[in-house]
Amino acid sequence: MLVYEKNSLSEEIELLIERFGKDRVALLPILQIIEKRHNYISEFAQQEVARLLDIHPVEVYSVVSFYNFLHRYPQGKNIVRLCKTISCDMAGKQEIEKALKRELGINFDETTRDKKWTLEYTSCLGMCDQGPAMLVNDKIYTKLDPETAVKILNDTK
């Protein structure tokens, strides 16, 4: 990471600390905002958060690794999360899976080269009666078939 990037990140985190308070309970909201702005929480950002909250970097790392919606490594701008649970599987998840892979040219848990798309599995989205379901960023799409899935991707672009 370049020095000026680090400096601006530090400043950003300092502002967040001012907003949420210098207490360890402020950790999650701060991490969520960093994730939202940068699509991931870098090693440096984790250490800065730890330093400013006066906790250990490894504790921040532990929290980041615990939650699926917080990322340790750079992600694409858009994240597609396909439900992997049994009812979506029975409703035809595999077809959607293939279509998504083909359209984006990547496997699951990978990011496209232009850093636009990341493909992930997720646990149940609670749409078992309307499967297969997927989550694109924070919007949910249900009753998918391969064509609509590809169309959704194109519309999101």
């Binding site: 360890r24 309970v25 984790q46 250490q47 970097p57 790392y61 532990s62």
Partner: protein, 624 residues
């Protein structure tokens, strides 16, 4: 027990009930029934405590007397009447009259299942494991008659073993996720190297971004080694290299032994804590093949003279010359764990440290210069080994700046456990050996050096010397026992008034000499915060040891450890000390001799600065 309130939100803390102050008040005592036996216990006692007090055995794994309650391993489950599920007895405070069954069919089967599950993720290669026969998981599986691997067994290692650190080895193949190392590192020592990452069945114990141990902020104190119930964490063992040096007739192998291993090594041979085996250990070391056996206490005496002189110089500069750049209080620099801790966490305060090397490094420098000269041995043929209670000493002797003699001052740092292994390998049963003394020319050391092993010891030794240097009288305490320095409170504070001083030190007349003693880096952190707030301006001298209890609780000492065991070791050290003829560092004839012959300009002179003093590195907190 460390305060976990800061770390975990209330919802995540174990359910705890404070014990009432007055047990005779109504509701103070609660009668419960454990396996048909009716007993009465104070409110808030956990089931585990109640059972142990009544001599009912309950197996435990993640529970440790030094650490906070975790309740994660579930080995200690018991049946509580009226509860739908089995309860972990270590984290169940008794608040009502309950009936407990500790060995019903349900409990027995559940425990066996839990142990089988623990074993299913454990790479158990017991014969080739450092913890063989001292492993809590092994003991548990014997206790519960594990005769097959019902849930499978890890046959091949999955993770790479981390050998990067000079002090510690981390083998996650053997980890059973009891989280003792985490609680040690974060709660007990407040260093924060290890934490659990990921979730559910993917949980692992890891460093920051899974970096090797040498890259993260580890102070090598080794407290986690002492508390790991399996062989997942152990110290980096140099005994093969040492055997090779012993077997090489060209090499002159010398060993220096620190006070704490001598007070604890008996535990490795089945003795209860609190037996000192100094003379037997000398014989054992000679039988193993070390050419000379020296006493680190000798350089502990040297340390006292150097550090004491440095302190007096600083005081003079501050009081007489009104020099505001002089940093007071002066902090001791004997504990390599503490040195690395301050380098990482308080790099801006490094000037407060005494520049004197630790006794181990002083001895290393003396052996390869003065001793080599006097005995006519080429220093390159000398292999200098140190027996230490400490894993951080391995790191210290590998520091690049520790080569004042032109060679590595100390070649290998050996811990108590590793030496016990070498003694067993040599076919020796230590406690039955004849007694013998240390070798000349450093054969005699004072009691002041001996008590370095316990927390407060350095301070006590320094006071004995500094007070006498300044006033010409002995310290005004009965039998030289400075009780204010002894004991296991986290931070101790006391003062001595300096009156009727010698003319040379007239600037100290009437000064209330104030000192502080802290052990464990969590307490050190508190002291440093006080320093940062400017509340230590009236304190003159601070002793800090990185390990709880001082060196006798070090990371290389026999396993297990607890406050009770550490107290027994301290007792052994203090008892041995009182029997010694010389009990003040400056009265040690060999120290006088070395200053006369070798460093004629005295303590803190140019030559002594070259050999016996060092400098520190601002490391900082950032992990690259």
């Amino acid at each position: 027990m460390p305060d976990t309130i800061k770390r975990a939100p209330i919802s995540q803390q174990p359910f705890k009930v404070e014990k009432p102050l007055d047990l005779n008040a109504i509701g103070g005592m609660i009668s419960i029934q454990i396996n048909e036996k009716k007993v009465s216990v104070p409110l808030g006692t956990t089931i585990l405590e109640a059972c142990r007090d009544n001599h009912i055995h309950i197996p435990t794994l993640c529970h440790h007397p030094d650490l906070c309650i975790a309740g994660v391993c579930r080995v200690c489950v018991v049946e509580v009447d009226g509860m739908r599920t089995l309860q972990a007895s270590c984290s169940f405070p008794i608040t009502a009259s309950i009936k407990i069954k500790t060995s019903s069919e349900l409990v027995r089967k559940a425990r066996r299942n839990i142990i089988d599950l623990l074993l299913s993720e454990h790479h158990g290669e017991c014969y080739a494991c450092v913890k063989n026969k001292n492993c809590e998981l092994q003991t548990l599986s014997k206790e519960y008659g594990v005769d097959n691997m019902r849930f499978g067994h890890v046959k091949e290692p999955v993770y790479e073993v981390d050998f990067s650190s000079t002090s510690l080895v981390r083998d996650m193949n053997k980890c059973v996720l009891c989280r003792r190392c985490i609680r040690t590192c974060i709660d007990l020592q407040e260093v924060g190297v290890l934490e659990a990452i990921n979730r559910g069945d993917k949980t692992q114990i890891s460093t920051f971004y899974d970096k090797p141990l040498q890259d993260v902020i580890c102070i090598n104190c080794g407290q986690c080694l002492n508390r790991c119930p399996t062989g997942a964490l152990y110290s980096n063992d140099p005994s093969d290299e040492i055997w090779r040096a012993i077997d090489d007739p060209q090499k002159h192998v010398v060993i220096q032994t620190a006070p704490s291993p001598r007070a604890a090594i008996g535990e490795e041979f089945g003795y209860a804590p609190g037996h000192s085996f100094t003379p037997e250990l000398n014989t054992a070391l000679k039988r193993i093949g070390f050419d000379r056996v020296f006493d680190t206490n000798f350089t502990a005496d040297l340390t006292i003279l150097e550090e004491g002189t440095e302190l007096l110089t600083r005081l003079k500069k501050a009081i007489v010359d009104k020099d505001t750049t002089v940093k007071l209080p002066q902090f001791t620099s004997c504990s390599p764990g503490w040195i690395k801790f301050i380098e990482h966490f308080y790099p801006e305060h490094l000037d407060y440290l005494s520049t004197a090397k630790s006794p181990q490094q002083m001895f290393g420098a003396i052996i390869k210069t003065f001793y080599a000269q006097e005995q006519g041995i080429d220093p390159k043929d000398i292999v200098s080994v140190s027996l230490m209670p400490c894993s951080a000493k391995k790191f210290e002797c590998n520091r690049p700046e520790m080569d004042a003699s032109g060679f590595r001052d100390v070649d290998y740092g050996l811990t108590t456990r590793e030496l016990a292994k070498m003694i067993r390998e040599a076919g020796i049963f230590l406690p039955e050996l004849p007694k013998s003394g240390f070798d000349e020319p450093f054969g005699e050391a004072s009691g002041a050096g001996l008590i370095f092993g316990a927390t407060g010891g350095v301070m006590e030794a320094a006071l004995r010397t500094v007070y006498e240097l300044v006033t010409g009288r002995e310290v005004p305490f009965e039998n030289l026992r400075i009780e204010a320095c002894r004991g296991f409170e986290g931070i101790k504070e006391a003062s001595v008034k300096l009156e009727n001083v010698l003319p040379a030190y007239s600037f100290l007349e009437g000064v209330n000499f104030k000192f502080m003693v802290a052990h464990g880096t969590a307490n050190a952190k508190q002291v440093m915060e006080l320093l940062r707030e400017g509340k230590l301006s009236d304190v003159h001298f601070v002793e800090i040891m990185a390990c709880p209890g001082g060196c006798l609780g070090g990371g290389g000492q026999p396993i297990p450890t607890s406050e009770e065991i550490r107290k027994q070791r301290a007792k052994a050290i203090y008892a041995e000390e009182e029997g010694l003829p010389i009990r003040k560092s400056h009265e040690n004839p060999h120290v006088k001799y070395i200053y006369e012959k070798f460093i004629p300009e005295g303590p803190c002179s140019e030559l002594s600065h070259k050999l016996l003093h060092t400098h520190y590195k601002k490391r900082g907190r950032y992990i690259i």
